[in-house]
């Protein structure tokens, strides 16, 4: 806009009276404003067309949600809730209306939750182990050759575009049902994303410490071990914990395609329309993720404190 104002007064300003200059300026300004408004209008029209196309294609208006859609959602939500009875809330499993009746298979669910956590931990550890050497190759200041840097970076980007669930779906076809396809799918995703994050931590590291070690006769490995690792380890540990949180949620969801863990029970409950069971399992998952978030946040804050103190 300012560019057009500059170009708007071709005649020598000195020969013009003050009124003329003001008049020129005002005319130019209203023209620029009009142009800006027109541009905005075009933008709004384009966005509206795009969005109405999207609404149409996703069936937002055309879908038949049945008579009284709100009523049906309310009905569905009511079926999610268990029918608890206050007088025998703490009775045993056989009594309808007790908490134990609602959580009727708690032992199995806790076992599956433990499996979910183990899938997430094993995948995170393996991913971090694989990502560490790759991150040296993918860091601009450490890579042995630009071609290697480029290849590792692009590969990790490519892998990151593939959702875990789709990878798991293909792996279930190869490995069969069970936790192993889940572990491998999550390991793959974790390696790709941690490679990028670790590489960025490496690039932010202070290279002077490595140079000091080099000048004192340290070899490549010693430079990395004593010059780089102490600088980046707290950041890397913090990223790995963050990834662990993500992986627990992902591992819970992976079970839905048959890749082990608590998700198997979720999809079973839906298939058998046991909506109160679904809600019970969901509560367990959300509770687990909540507790894990708090724990890992506390650990991460301590790690970050260590990093700042160092």
């Amino acid at each position: 806009m300012s560019k057009s104002i500059d170009q708007g007064s071709p005649s020598d300003p000195a020969s013009l009276s003050l009124e003329q200059i003001v008049e020129n300026f005002e005319a130019e300004r209203s023209r620029a404003l009009r142009r800006g408004r027109l541009f905005q209008l075009v933008q709004v029209l384009c966005l509206t067309a795009l969005l109405s196309g999207a609404f149409q294609a996703s069936g937002l208006f055309s879908s038949y949600l049945g008579d009284g859609a709100i009523g049906r959602i309310a009905d569905f939500l009511a079926r999610l809730l268990p029918k608890l009875q206050a007088d025998h809330l703490f009775a045993d499993r056989a009594t309808a209306g007790s908490l134990a009746f609602w959580f009727y298979d708690l032992d199995l669910w806790l076992k599956l939750l433990a499996e979910t956590v183990q899938i997430a931990i094993v995948a995170t550890v393996l991913g971090a182990i694989f990502a560490l050497p790759l991150s040296f190759l993918a860091a601009r200041n450490l890579t042995p050759a630009p071609l290697i840097y480029w290849t590792v970076r692009r590969t990790s980007e490519l892998v990151r575009t593939l959702p875990d669930i789709i990878v798991a779906l293909i792996l279930v076809a190869a490995f069969g049902l069970g936790p192993i396809p889940g572990v491998i799918a999550l390991t793959l995703g974790t390696t790709a994303s941690l490679t990028k994050l670790f590489a960025e931590a490496n690039e932010a590291a202070d290279m002077h410490q490595l140079e000091a070690l080099q000048s004192a006769g340290g070899n490549w490995w010693q430079q990395l071990r004593f010059g780089l690792i102490p600088q980046v380890l707290p950041t890397m540990a913090s990223y790995s914990l963050l990834r662990l949180e993500i992986n627990v949620g992902a591992a819970a969801a992976l079970g839905i395609v048959g890749a082990g863990g608590i998700g198997v029970e979720l999809s079973r409950a839906i298939t058998f329309t046991e909506f109160d069971t679904y809600f019970a399992v969901l509560l367990l998952i959300v509770g687990l993720i909540f507790v894990l978030d708090l724990t890992s946040e506390a650990i991460r804050h301590r790690l970050m404190g260590v990093e700042q103190a160092a």
Binding site: Q56, G59, L60, V122, T161, A174, V183, A252, V257
Partner: protein, 275 residues
């Protein structure tokens, strides 16, 4: 050699722990490491992560991968591209619905707009709880409520997005500078003008950028929602994995990766213009 041992002696006088660590701390460290390795091994054992299972699986995966080449759409190119467009439409509609719900909630959750601490706490904690529910879990609920089709996926995406967006919107509002609004109020503007001219220019670009980011992640999520029956590209993919048509699977994956890359590029261009 003497110079070197002298140096070590000197160093141990200044900082004894750096040269010779106390035995107990060394044992503790090795013990911790050993324990961690043991724990990891135990977990691998529980998950039946054994070498023979892996070898068998990867051999089979090799056969499947061989079947993927060359990628072949079997005449379904148009259908697949249409499914990709439906997935994109689901992502956009879900994002818009998420924004519509998140805007008022984010404003309530921002400390500088609503000063009621009880309301503030309640909103924040509820959002924290809802953030723990994975999008696939919402999708399963919505499919049993609305039946198979994209609309269930759209609602699931919106439900999974709005807690994240509301939190980010609240943070954007809290991080805004109060002084432009104060200046407008001081020069005689009313509260509406202070919001329109003092607050919105600061927060709208941040919110728009976060919404674009949500759109990107929704495109990925919308693809996986198809796997459980919410329409779009995931549905086509799941169908073909079921019948082991891996050349078609490969074609879909390539088309999908290309469109994700394209969308991410467009979105990052827009975002870099916004901020």
């Amino acid at each position: 050699m003497t110079a070197r041992s002298d140096l070590i002696e000197q160093a141990s006088l200044i900082a004894p722990n750096s040269v010779h660590q106390p035995l107990m701390s060394r044992i503790g460290r090795w013990g911790l490491g050993f324990g961690a390795v043991l724990l990891f091994g135990w977990m691998c054992h529980n998950l039946e992560l054994r070498v023979d299972v892996l070898v068998r699986g990867f051999t089979k995966l090799g056969t499947l991968t061989k079947a993927m080449f060359p990628p072949f759409a079997n005449g379904a190119e148009l259908k697949i591209l249409q499914a990709l467009l439906v997935t994109l439409a689901m992502a956009m509609t879900g994002t818009i619905m998420g924004i519509v719900v998140a805007l008022p909630l984010g404003s309530v959750g921002a400390k500088n707009l609503i000063r009621n601490p009880i309301l503030h706490f309640a909103v924040r904690r509820t959002l924290d709880f809802l953030r723990g529910v994975p999008v696939l879990v919402w999708a399963l609920i919505m499919i049993s409520a609305f039946g198979l089709g994209p609309i269930a996926g759209v609602i699931a995406l919106a439900l999974a997005d709005f807690p994240h967006l509301a939190k980010q919107f609240a943070e954007a509002l809290e991080n805004s500078d109060p002084r432009p609004s104060q200046a407008i109020l001081a020069s005689g503007g009313n509260r509406l003008e202070a919001m329109r001219l003092g607050l919105l220019p600061q927060v709208v670009p941040v919110m728009a950028s976060q919404s674009l980011y949500t759109l990107e992640s929704n495109f990925r999520h919308a693809a996986i929602l198809g796997v459980v029956g919410a329409g779009g590209i995931g549905f086509e993919l799941e169908e073909r994995i079921r019948i082991f048509a891996f050349d078609q699977v490969a074609w879909i994956v390539v088309a999908y990766v290309a469109s994700v890359t394209l969308l991410d590029w467009i979105s990052s261009q827009l975002r870099s213009r916004l901020i």
